[in-house]
C-alpha cells in the first residue's frame, strides 16, 4: 500500500509533482487540439468538397475580379475548379444509364464533352450571381466504401436551400458525381430527359441536339 505512493513520490516533493502534472495535462490538451481536423462531422469526402467550395468562393469573393469585365476570367477559373471537382465521366454514365452502351466510344467522348459544356453554361451565371450567401457543411453519410453524400446548406436572405453532393472515390480522390438540390437530383433529372429522348431517337441525333444547344449559348 505504501509502495505505489513511494514510487510516485520518489525523489520529488508534492508541489513539484503537481506542477509537472499540470504542465503535462496542458501539453496533452494542446496536442489533442492540434491533431483535431478542422471540421466536426468531417470525413475525407466532406473535407474534399468543402475545399473545392472554398476555392470557388475565393474566386467569387476576389476583390480584384469584382468588375463586370472580369466575368470571363471568373468563369474560366471556376470551370477549372469544376473540372477537378466533378467526375464528368461518371456523371455522363449515370445520366445515360442503359443507353450508355448505345454510344460508341467516340460518341461517348463527345457526349461527355457536350454535357460538361451544357452544365457549365447552365450553371455559370447562377454561381456568378452569388452575393455573399453563407454555405454551411453539416454532415457526411457513407453509402458504401466508395460512395458518400456530403450535406450542405446555402443560407441566403430569403431562404435556406439544402444542397447535397454525392461523391465517389476514384483512386484516392473523392469526386462529385451528383448534386441534389432540395431533394432533386441532377443526375436523375437528366436521366429522365435523355431516356425520353432516346426512346425515339438515335444517339447521333441526341448529340446533334446537344451540339445545337451548346452552340447557341
Amino acid at each position: 500500500m505504501n509502495l505505489p505512493t513511494k514510487v510516485f513520490n520518489k525523489g520529488r516533493n508534492m508541489s513539484v509533482r503537481t506542477k509537472i502534472m499540470k504542465k503535462s495535462v496542458a501539453a496533452l490538451i494542446l496536442f489533442s487540439i492540434m491533431i483535431l481536423p478542422h471540421y466536426a462531422y468531417a470525413g475525407v469526402a466532406a473535407e474534399t468538397v468543402h475545399r473545392y467550395a472554398d476555392k470557388v468562393l475565393d474566386v467569387l469573393r476576389d476583390p480584384v475580379l469584382k468588375a463586370e469585365s472580369s466575368k470571363k476570367i471568373k468563369k474560366e477559373k471556376i470551370r477549372l475548379i469544376a473540372d477537378d471537382m466533378f467526375d464528368f465521366t461518371e456523371l455522363s454514365k449515370r445520366t445515360l444509364a442503359q443507353n450508355w452502351n448505345r454510344f460508341d466510344s467516340s460518341q461517348q467522348k463527345e457526349f461527355i464533352h457536350l454535357f460538361k459544356s451544357l452544365l457549365a453554361d447552365a450553371y455559370a451565371d447562377k454561381i456568378l450571381a452569388y452575393t455573399n450567401e453563407r454555405i454551411v457543411f453539416s454532415k457526411e453519410i457513407q453509402y458504401s466504401d466508395n460512395t458518400a453524400e456530403v450535406r450542405s446548406t446555402v443560407i441566403s436572405k430569403t431562404a435556406e436551400i439544402p444542397i447535397n453532393y454525392r461523391v465517389i472515390l476514384k483512386g484516392t480522390e473523392w469526386k462529385v458525381y451528383d448534386v441534389v438540390i432540395e431533394g432533386v437530383s441532377l443526375v436523375n433529372n437528366y436521366r429522365s430527359q435523355f431516356k425520353e429522348i432516346l426512346l425515339n431517337k438515335s444517339p447521333e441525333s441526341l448529340l446533334e441536339t446537344l451540339r445545337k444547344k451548346v452552340g447557341k449559348s
Binding site: 495535462v25 496536442f31 489533442s32 483535431l36 466536426a40 450553371y123 437530383s185 436523375n188 429522365s192
Partner: protein
C-alpha cells in the same frame, strides 16, 4: 509519472479521431436505409443486346425471378424490371472500372439517385399543351407585370409583403402538420402564427424566426396525402399553377379551405377581390424568382420532361421529410 502521461496521450490519440468520425460511421436516421437486394447482376456480353444474359453469382432474387447459382437467364425472359436491370447496370459500370469484369459479392446498396421516380402521364398531349400555355403566359403576362412591380416596389417592402402572405398560410401548415401527426411542428407553426401576427405587426416580419429561432415547418395537403401513402395518380399540368398531379391538385384545393381569406364574408371582400389578392401574392413572390424559369429552360434539354421529373422528385422529398 511519465507512464501515466504517455498512457493518457495514447488514449487521447486513439480516441479523438474515432470520436470525431463517429458521426460519419453511424447510420443516419434521416437517410432512408438503402436495403440492398442480395444481387449483383453481371452481364456476359454488353455489346450485343440480343445475346445479353444475366448470370447471378448467388441464389438471389431479381424482381420476381428466383434464380439459383450459376444459372444463366436471357434478359428477354426475365421478369426483373427494367429499373432493377438499370440499377445493376449502373452498378456494374462503376464496378467495372474498379474491379475488372469480375463480379464481386460485396454490398450492392442501391445508391439513392438510382431509385426511379416515375409518374404516369396519360394526359401527355393535354399536359404538353398546358405546359406551352403556361410558358407563354409567363413570358407574355406574368414576367412583364412582375418586372414593372419589382421596379416600382422596393425590395424590403416586397419582402415584408411576402411575409404577410406567408403568415396567412400558417394555419394551413399547422393543420397539415396536425394531420400528419407531427405535433411539435404543428405547435411551432401555431406559435409562429400568433407571434408573427403580433410582434411582426400583421406578419410583416418573421419575428419568430429571428427572436425565437423557430423556423417555418412547411406542410401542404398534397404532402399529407402522400404521407399516408396516397400515390400521385397521374401527372397534371395546371394553368398558372404549373406542374401538379391528381393528388396534389386535390391538395391545392383542400389547402384553399384552410386559408383564412376563404372565410372572409363576401360582404367584406368580393370573390374578384379575393382572386386579386391571390394574384398579388403570386406576383410578389415571383418578383424574387425572376430568372429562375429562364435558367431552368436553359439547363434543360427537354424542359417538359425535366419539369415533370423535378416535380415528382421534389414532392417525394417532401413526403420523405414528413415521415421523419
Amino acid at each position: 509519472m511519465k507512464a501515466v502521461n504517455i498512457l493518457l496521450m495514447l488514449s487521447a490519440l486513439m480516441l479523438s479521431p474515432s470520436v470525431l468520425m463517429a458521426d460519419v460511421s453511424l447510420p443516419d436516421p434521416n437517410v432512408e436505409q438503402c436495403v440492398a437486394p442480395p444481387v449483383l447482376i453481371a452481364l456476359q456480353s454488353a455489346s450485343d443486346d440480343n445475346n445479353r444474359q444475366i448470370v447471378l453469382p448467388d441464389a438471389a432474387t431479381a424482381g420476381n425471378l428466383q434464380i439459383s447459382f450459376g444459372e444463366t437467364v436471357p434478359i428477354a425472359d426475365s421478369q426483373a424490371s427494367e429499373d432493377e436491370i438499370m440499377i445493376a447496370l449502373t452498378q456494374w459500370n462503376s464496378a467495372e472500372e474498379a474491379n475488372g469484369i469480375e463480379t464481386t459479392k460485396s454490398e450492392s446498396a442501391i445508391i439513392p439517385e438510382e431509385k426511379e421516380v416515375e409518374i404516369a402521364d396519360p394526359l401527355f398531349p393535354v399536359n404538353k399543351a398546358m405546359f406551352e400555355f403556361n410558358d407563354k403566359l409567363y413570358f407574355w403576362g406574368i414576367k412583364p407585370v412582375t418586372q414593372v412591380y419589382s421596379h416600382t416596389v422596393p425590395e424590403e417592402f416586397r419582402f415584408a409583403i411576402s411575409n404577410v402572405y406567408d403568415n396567412l398560410w400558417a394555419p394551413c401548415r399547422m393543420l397539415n402538420n396536425l394531420f400528419q401527426l407531427r405535433f411539435k411542428a404543428a405547435g411551432n407553426e401555431l406559435i409562429r402564427f400568433i407571434f408573427n401576427s403580433f410582434a411582426g405587426i400583421g406578419g410583416m416580419g418573421d419575428m419568430a424566426k429571428e427572436a425565437l429561432g423557430i423556423k417555418k415547418q412547411d406542410a401542404d395537403f398534397g404532402q399529407t396525402l402522400g404521407h399516408y401513402g396516397v400515390g400521385h395518380g397521374f401527372y397534371l399540368v395546371l394553368p398558372v399553377f404549373g406542374p401538379s398531379s391528381m393528388r396534389d391538385g386535390v391538395g391545392l384545393a383542400a389547402d384553399q379551405f384552410m386559408h383564412p381569406l376563404t372565410y372572409v364574408s363576401s360582404n367584406t371582400l368580393t370573390f374578384v377581390e379575393k382572386v386579386g389578392i391571390s394574384a398579388h401574392e403570386e406576383v410578389n413572390s415571383t418578383s424574387f424568382k425572376i430568372g429562375d424559369y429562364e435558367s431552368f429552360k436553359n439547363a434543360a434539354v427537354d424542359p417538359y420532361v425535366s419539369m415533370r421529373n423535378a416535380f415528382i422528385q421534389h414532392r417525394q422529398h417532401k413526403v420523405e421529410l414528413s415521415r421523419q
